[in-house]
């Protein structure tokens, strides 16, 4: 039996302050980037046409002019604020992004007018190579109007929140609601950290990135559930152990699985980043960041929050139990209960 990682005994819960500190720092960095950019008049997030509206034209050339020549041709036709973006895995192809225009303005038509400076466009029914006289061909367009952009944006946020509520309800039904809440907080953290990265590095957010964010929601919850499931099992088996110890043990027991699975998924996603092409690049990057933090948050965020919450509830229950048993000496008992609450939560504070 070849194996790594068994009989490990790491005190994860003991390091929870470090974990939470790092997470808070990362979230603040992302938030700071978004706020500062917004305040200084730049964009908090680099939203793609899906959410901002506008047109992206994908053009393929026989002899691709350089970016500056294309930009100049666009300016000649009055398209001043276009972004010309090369496609790394297709040197003959270029993306031309035109911001939202007035009604009736067709971005594709205008870009074509500008590109005609380099020669004729291939006929719609033939491939570029088959047309002798053609210099280029528009092989793809994405045009999104202002209404559709806002609609897609709102929908994306609503769907993410709805999915989180659904997850919360399921975990609450299968475990305890504290587990569900802890898992959802951890997922929220992952989404925030990932969005923070997208703000800091100004990676473009498209519809596909939203799909990736939702994937990471599923992925992170998946990881959290594996740990929680083990905690549930161990609580039944070792009734006398503290939740603190049980949680540590459960994380350690599932650690080999965590490392293997997440390592493999990490490699698959890496394959996606390296070989998936430009279209999938932002999607793969979001997943890439998500896999790392999804794994991290199950151990570092979800578990400590759940333990802290459960212990508070336990303490509160004890308090009310004391109050119920000695109804006549309510005041001193209550004080005593507060004392015991402090003691109970001592390992965590």
């Amino acid at each position: 039996m070849f194996q790594v990682l068994h009989d490990i005994n790491i005190d994860w819960m003991g390091n929870r302050r470090w974990f939470i500190g790092v997470s808070v720092l990362l979230m603040l960095a992302g938030l700071g980037s978004a706020v500062i950019r917004q305040a200084t008049g730049r964009q908090a997030f680099n939203l793609g046409v899906d959410f901002k509206g506008g047109t992206v034209v994908t053009a393929r050339f026989k002899q691709r002019p350089n970016d500056d020549a294309i930009r100049a041709a666009l300016v000649n036709k009055g398209i001043n604020d276009a972004v010309v973006q090369p496609v790394t895995d297709r040197p003959d192809t270029v993306l031309i992004k035109v911001p939202l225009e007035g009604e009736g303005q067709d971005g594709r038509v205008r870009v074509r007018e500008a590109l005609n400076e380099f020669g004729k466009e291939a006929d719609a029914r033939t491939e570029l190579e088959a047309d002798q006289n053609a210099a280029y061909k528009i092989v793809g367009t994405d045009a999104v109007g202002a209404i559709a952009g806002a609609q897609l944006r709102n929908k994306a946020i609503a769907v993410t929140l709805a999915a989180l509520v659904g997850i919360l309800m399921y975990i609450a039904a299968r475990f305890e609601w504290t587990y569900g809440a802890a898992a959802v907080i951890a997922v929220f953290h992952d989404v925030l950290v990932t969005l923070g990265f997208f703000s800091i590095f100004q990676i473009e957010i498209s519809l596909n990135v939203i799909a990736a964010l939702l994937t990471l929601v599923g992925f992170s919850v998946n990881d959290t559930i594996v740990v929680f499931d083990r905690i549930r099992e161990n609580r039944k088996l070792h009734r006398r152990d503290s939740l603190y110890k049980i949680t540590n043990d459960s994380i350690n027991q599932t650690l080999s699985r965590t490392v293997i699975t997440n390592g493999l998924v990490f490699l698959s996603v890496l394959a996606l980043v390296l070989f998936g092409g430009d279209v999938l690049r932002a999607f793969s990057l979001a997943l890439f960041i998500g896999v790392v933090f999804g794994t991290y948050s199950s151990i570092a965020i979800a578990s400590p929050i759940m333990v802290w919450w459960e212990q508070r509830i336990e303490a509160a229950n004890r308090e009310s139990a004391v109050a119920f048993n000695q109804p006549r000496v309510v005041k001193p008992a209550a004080r005593g209960a507060k004392q015991s609450l402090k003691n109970a939560s001592k390992p965590l504070h």
Partner: protein
């Protein structure tokens, strides 16, 4: 007992595998020798899996029917008609207006004598449809009559306009001969949006123009002295309005329209055509709804590329038109298309059911116009919200990149599993490959389309499938370490891991369902593959993998070691 159990399991797995494999690479007809060759398998695979527009190439259009425009026109038309009706009945309307804001569509009419308000209401409602209480609620104060559109009617009328637009657009697409288009409403019903998908269409510009073409045709009475004087035209709009002698405003029964006159026998196509203005009577004699047919024909005596449109009218329209032309011989009539006069002609004799629109059209524009006229006018203008077009070569690139990434991921996983779990790794690999086959079969059975995000869903499913195997194997190892026998370790490993697997799968399926129900195109494609992949995984990673273990254990009475 155990043997029999194993036999049933093997039979079930064999059937599912064969059916799945046939669904994926089998033909939808009696198989021939060709179907067992590599090229035949590839062709069948291509036929069986529906590729989304982003992989196959094609055009995806989201449009919105501007229903508020429809309601505005309706209200304004009613206002003009109410004014005319009140005037005809002798109530001397002294003012009024049409309110046309969404949520507040009203026809307001003021008459001279407040005492006659009730009579005026009766007279107006007798002639026009403002009396329909399911649409308009009436109120009066002083000399003012107000008809307000009810909120329910506003909703119903807007929905009807959308449905009507959908039908008209459908007939236009069919007339264009686009292969396998799909047209459906998009998003919430209150958004009045339509989604049109056209596989293979690379250049949607012509389609867009034709769909957008409102083509509102009207035949109108031109205000002019009769033939033989030429039709009365004005050089500027102001001049035309001034001729009305109504203090710079246009009375409700008149319209001033631009008219681009034809220059007969001109050989120079670049010669500027003179633009003038014409005063016409409103409402029109008849409109496009009375049209029976319209065809593009080369114009007689014109140049070779000069086309015009022949149209004929329905019975009801022909009756109206015949009666009107009969009583207006030698007067002028105009053909109005989208609020622009296309031609003016004097009425030589009574005309019943046909006419021409000549406006120096090219062959293409005449044909497109005839097509839109035949399909009927759109009840309201449409605007394009979203347009996505992918050329087939771009789609090919995406498929290649997606497949390459999936295969690299899969290969990494296979190598690792065989290396780390040795003999049991074979279990995982078999389960993984079966998962892939059944996932594609599932896509085919549900008629789902495979999109680019769908390929990402496949990659994620690979991850989840491996996770299930890792969970099971790690658990079996744990049980073995704690000193249990091999059979009971396998049993316990599967039973315990199964609970976790169910929990993780159900949560992911729940979030995917939200994506499917509320998500849009691309995200949906992702959700579909993920849900199918996860459901399949419960079978392949748990049932199939366990069967292999049962088979391994049944081969020897007592097993000393398990390769895991």
């Amino acid at each position: 007992m155990k043997k029999k159990n194993l036999l049933t399991r093997v039979i079930i797995i064999a059937i599912v595998t064969i059916v799945g494999l046939y669904l994926v690479i089998g033909p939808r007809r009696r198989p021939t020798v060709q179907d067992f060759k590599w090229s035949g398998i590839k062709a069948n695979l291509k036929n069986n899996i529906h590729l989304g527009l982003d992989l196959q190439g094609g055009s995806h259009l989201v449009m919105r029917v501007k229903t508020e425009e429809f309601l505005r026109r309706l209200t304004e038309e009613n206002y003009v008609a109410a004014q005319n009706a009140a005037k005809d009945a002798g109530f001397d309307p002294k003012g009024g207006r049409a309110d046309t804001n969404p949520g507040n569509y009203r026809v307001v009419l003021q008459i001279a004598d407040p005492a006659k308000v009730a009579d005026a209401k009766a007279a107006v409602e007798k002639k026009i449809e403002l009396g329909d209480t399911s649409v308009w609620s009436y109120s009066a104060s002083g000399d003012t009559l107000t008809w307000s559109m009810t909120a329910a009617a506003e909703r119903v009328l807007a929905d009807n306009a959308t449905t009507q637009a959908l039908n008209i657009i459908e007939s236009r697409i069919n007339a264009l001969g686009i292969a396998e288009p799909t047209l459906q409403t998009h998003g919430a019903t209150t958004s009045h949006q339509l989604l049109l998908q056209m596989p293979g269409v690379q250049d949607p510009e012509r389609v867009k123009d034709i769909l957008k073409g409102e083509s509102r045709l009207e035949l109108v009475h031109v205000i002019s002295p009769p033939n033989p004087s030429p039709a009365q035209t004005y050089a500027t709009e102001q001049e035309a309005i001034a001729s009305l002698n109504s203090g710079g405003t246009i009375p409700p029964n008149r319209r001033v329209l631009p008219y681009t006159e034809r220059i007969e026998k001109s050989e120079d196509p670049n010669q500027q055509r003179s633009k003038s203005w014409v005063v016409v009577e409103t409402p029109a004699i008849i409109d496009g709804s009375e049209l029976r047919n319209a065809t593009a024909i080369p114009s007689q005596g014109g140049r070779a590329d000069d086309f015009e449109i022949n149209f004929s009218l329905k019975k009801s329209g022909a009756d109206k038109f015949g009666a009107w032309t009969g009583s207006h011989i030698n007067e002028y009539m105009g053909v109005v298309l989208n609020d622009e006069i296309k031609s003016v002609a004097f009425i030589r004799s009574q005309i019943f059911d046909s006419g021409q629109i000549s406006g120096r059209f090219t062959k293409n524009s005449a044909e497109d116009l005839a097509l839109t006229l035949r399909s009927g006018a759109l009840p309201a203008p449409i605007e394009y919200l979203e347009e996505r077009t992918v050329g087939p070569s771009l789609g090919q690139d995406s498929i290649r990149a997606g497949v390459r990434a999936s295969l690299v991921g899969l290969a990494l996983v296979v190598v690792f599993m065989l290396f780390y779990y040795r003999g049991s790794g074979i279990n995982a690999v078999v389960a993984l490959l079966l998962n892939m086959i059944l996932m594609l079969a599932g896509l085919i059975v549900f008629g789902a389309t495979l999109t680019l995000p769908g390929i990402a869903g496949i990659i994620l499913t690979i991850g989840m499938a491996v996770d299930s195997n890792v969970l099971i194997f790690e658990r079996i190892r744990e049980e073995l370490r704690s000193g249990k026998t091999i059979p009971s370790s396998v049993d316990l490993g599967f039973n315990r891991a199964f609970i976790t697997i169910i929990d993780t799968h159900v949560t992911t399926i729940i979030s995917s369902l939200f994506l499917f129900v509320f998500g849009t195109g691309a995200i949906r494609g992702f959700a579909v593959t993920l849900v199918i992949g996860l459901l399949v995984n419960l079978f392949s990673a748990v049932y199939v993998s366990r069967t292999i273990f049962i088979w391994l254990l049944s081969r020897k009475k007592s097993m000393e070691s398990l390769s895991i």
